[in-house]
Subunit: 504 residues, 2 copies
């Protein structure tokens, strides 16, 4: 590269680092808001957040950024960049182009609309008032349609939305994988619902002291290899994980006295997200590539730890004793009973309360509805009816209210169309990674049974975590498993597990 | 004002608000660092702090700021500004001019020097190695001398430094007030040391459970009128208060199991700082005037609550029962014994462990030494000898090591010359405010004896807190008490209190 090109690269890397620093500062402010910031300071804090966010947006869309990206994006320069810089340029260019295509005035209107719509959605949900929310939903759909036109369509219109959350994912591919999944899971869920055997869960309905729950959460995180010198566990109403940098990846959980499994699996779930970000390679620290590569891959890690490991028989053969010890006399049941009780499958109305199996059907319903909106012109007013029909068809259950049906999720009020598929993609990626892991670490399950979880963390670090955003989800799954995403791994995993539990 | 002037005002106010927002965000990051941020995330966090600080500095010294200040500073415009805007322009101009006078390269060198010097100071203190720190101290003094030349001298060279912490304070005035104080306190401390009566403190040497200490700290804060919806109490190694905005003023304390008084008075002290910032008038929120007006006035509030109220006889007549209740069987002594035990006066070597009376002598020593450096050319190498001679003269005690003497404080390693006087100014302001309060609230001490502290908080809000930085310290003390700062109030307060306790 010429000296001028070298300078441009250095300038670009500094600009990227600056953007990342704003992101990190904002991350601390959001974490603080959700873990106990005093109520009366909110107004002033929101203003500070607004100012830092605007500045961050300004940097990502500045003329300086545009010029540097043009310069570094030229084939003759790009070919000579190191791998990290080349990927950084590519990602920044994508972000820059997407942002630049939206006129600032339109974006401003949309930000105001979605920030208002969330509180209207809350109110509508509380009052079971779909009609009250419908005008906002219509407007949000309308703006999103305009954005799709401005961003440009490759494939179908819905593909343009998917790309925000799962780069390169297409409706065509999702139709194929979700189709394969639905076809197998609907009859499986139905068979389970009709099974004469149902696990006993009565012993879970007790009061479990919060301090002991916390103690066990900390213990399990430590067992998973979560690094407490690079993170901390706090409490919040909605549990979350936030990676400020790999040396500071924080998680929160929520202790329900009457439900020992909620904080337990919640902590393991967030711990899975955290392991991903704690173990990104040091070369990516301070760059915008130091992050999970997609929502779907991120979910694959939380769901792998929560479900594949945390709801497995070997896991509880090893750890049930430790759990019982913390609640003397409260869990005097065979470990097999506990294992089955934490794996109950039950068709239900509410996504966030669903089990590992039917969860995917909740997602497929939302996916099909979003596709109908953007690819087939379904209107906001049609959604309650479509929603209810699909719940009847796939889960054999009908919402009794809008609040338990089409109004249950926050996502659409914020315009997050295209986000839902990530959750089931996570389940599918997780099952496919597990299949490879079982072959490459043949003693994997005996390790789990001995509580030796670190080799599993190491394997994931080596194959997935360390890459951050350096590879796309498609590249990652292909490299690690030797195949593109394939729903049959999840189907096989669920069939094997639940036919055993439900004696089918 | 013309439309152009109105626009300039609006632009200036927005710029000020932006600067304040950066300050608030940085405040959260610092609070987080000191209350449990994971160790491994520090490096990346420091970078983010550096980037936000630079941006904040850039905004305060930008050409835009310079032009707006020129425009709004013109007499014809300035006369038409509202009081808040006028004061904001004045303060911003002062900050702008001071910053602009230092060449960026010089400032950069100084920042690097002082950030390194702190760790060299730590090492030197640990190893009792003055010679190891001396070269850094020399350099820091040398840079500070250059800064004084660049900033310009009015009065003496040391005045230029004082102005950073206590606006408009002069060496001449400090000579007068500290002289008056020293003259009375040296013989008083000596009489106390020679008194045949000494309070019994043996019952304080027990183990006091931390959770009960915390419970009492929360109780006392609530009694003082600290608003927990506008703040929170956490733990840190060095207790502090930080006002992010009046709706979010946080304090920390430190619980020592073997010393019940440490967290107790520490909490009240930080609570005093917090009451100041929680009660700044709403018109100042979001501006850079929303802060304490000087270090001295800030200290006057922490010390008023800690010493004047918290170490008073009526306070313990009311609250000793509540304290005893939390430590059953541990404090079975008459309240008078507890009162006296928490007011022991004892000449000692270490400033931060000193009592309310001799503390001022520690400060006067440092003041006289700093003055010798900047007004009389004393050299770094001379300081240990000067230090020890002054401790012998004023406190009749000689340091046994550099670590217990000239190396004990962090301040000089960070270049904070001119800061020390604030602590004793705080004591003097507090005593003078108290004198006025006793006249304007004649039942003040019976209110304290009844635990009705809110009228005292209200009085301070009305007279001091609400003004934030709208008035200078000199304006404030004159308006509230009708007189300029006068050391005789503190002398009278200390003489009355300690002649009684020590039966002199």
């Amino acid at each position: 590269m010429t000296i001028g090109e070298e300078q441009a690269l250095q300038q670009f890397r500094e600009l990227d680092r600056k953007i990342k620093s704003y992101g990190e500062a904002l991350g601390v402010l959001y974490w603080d808001l959700r873990t106990g910031a005093p109520r009366k300071g909110m107004e002033s804090r929101s203003e500070a957040i607004g100012i830092l966010s605007s500045e961050m947006f300004r940097l990502t869309t500045s003329d300086e950024m545009g010029e540097l990206l043009d310069r570094l994006g030229e084939r003759s320069v790009s070919d000579n960049l190191d791998e990290i810089s080349r990927k950084l340029v590519k990602e920044s260019k994508k972000e820059y182009d997407r942002s630049k295509k939206i006129p600032p005035k339109l974006n401003q209107e949309y930000v105001v609309l979605t920030s208002q719509a969330e509180s209207y959605w809350e109110e509508a949900k509380e009052n079971n008032d779909f009609a009250g929310f419908q005008p906002y939903l219509e407007k949000i759909i309308d703006y999103t349609q305009q954005f799709i036109d401005l961003w440009g369509v490759q494939g179908t219109r819905y593909d343009t939305l998917l790309d925000s959350y799962e780069p390169d994912m297409t409706t065509e591919q999702l139709d194929q994988v979700f189709g394969g999944l639905r076809e197998k899971l609907v009859p499986l869920a139905s068979a389970i619902a009709g099974s004469s055997y149902q696990p006993d869960t009565s012993f879970l309905r007790q009061t479990f002291p919060k301090d002991k729950q916390k103690d066990f959460s900390l213990f399990i995180l430590q067992q998973m290899g979560y690094d407490f010198q690079a993170g901390r566990l706090d409490e919040s109403v909605h549990p979350f994980a936030t990676g400020l940098n790999p040396g500071d990846v924080r998680i929160t959980t929520r202790y329900l006295p009457e439900d020992v499994t909620s904080a337990l699996f919640g902590t393991i779930h967030e711990g899975g997200h955290a392991l991903y970000e704690q173990n990104i390679m040091s070369e990516l620290i301070g760059t915008t590539l130091c992050d999970g590569t997609s929502m779907g891959i991120h979910e694959s890690q939380s769901r792998f730890w929560e479900n594949v490991i945390g709801r497995s028989r070997p896991f509880w053969e090893r750890y049930f004793g430790d759990l019982k010890e913390r609640f003397p006399g409260q869990l005097d049941v065979p470990v097999e009973d506990f294992y089955r009780a934490t794996n109950v499958v039950q068709p239900s109305l509410i996504r966030i309360e669903a089990d590992e199996l039917t969860y995917n059907l909740h997602i497929i319903i939302r996916y099909e509805i979003e596709k109908m909106i953007f690819n087939e012109g379904a209107k906001a007013g049609d959604l309650p009816e479509i929603w209810n029909a699909k719940y009847k068809e796939y889960l054999d259950i009908t919402p009794t209210s809008y609040s338990d049906g089409v109004l249950q999720d926050v996502h659409w009020s914020g315009g997050a169309f295209g986000y839902f598929p990530s959750y089931s993609l996570g389940n599918m990626y997780a099952a496919q990674f597990t299949d490879t892991m079982e072959r490459e670490l043949p003693d994997m399950w005996s390790l789990v049974g001995k509580g030796d979880l670190l080799p599993i963390k190491e394997w994931l670090t080596d194959k997935v975590y360390k890459y951050g955003k350096l590879q796309t989800p498609a590249q990652l799954i292909q490299r690690v498993t030797g195949k593109p995403l394939d729903p049959s791994y999840l189907v096989r995993y669920l069939e094997t597990k639940y036919k055993d539990i439900y004696k089918l």
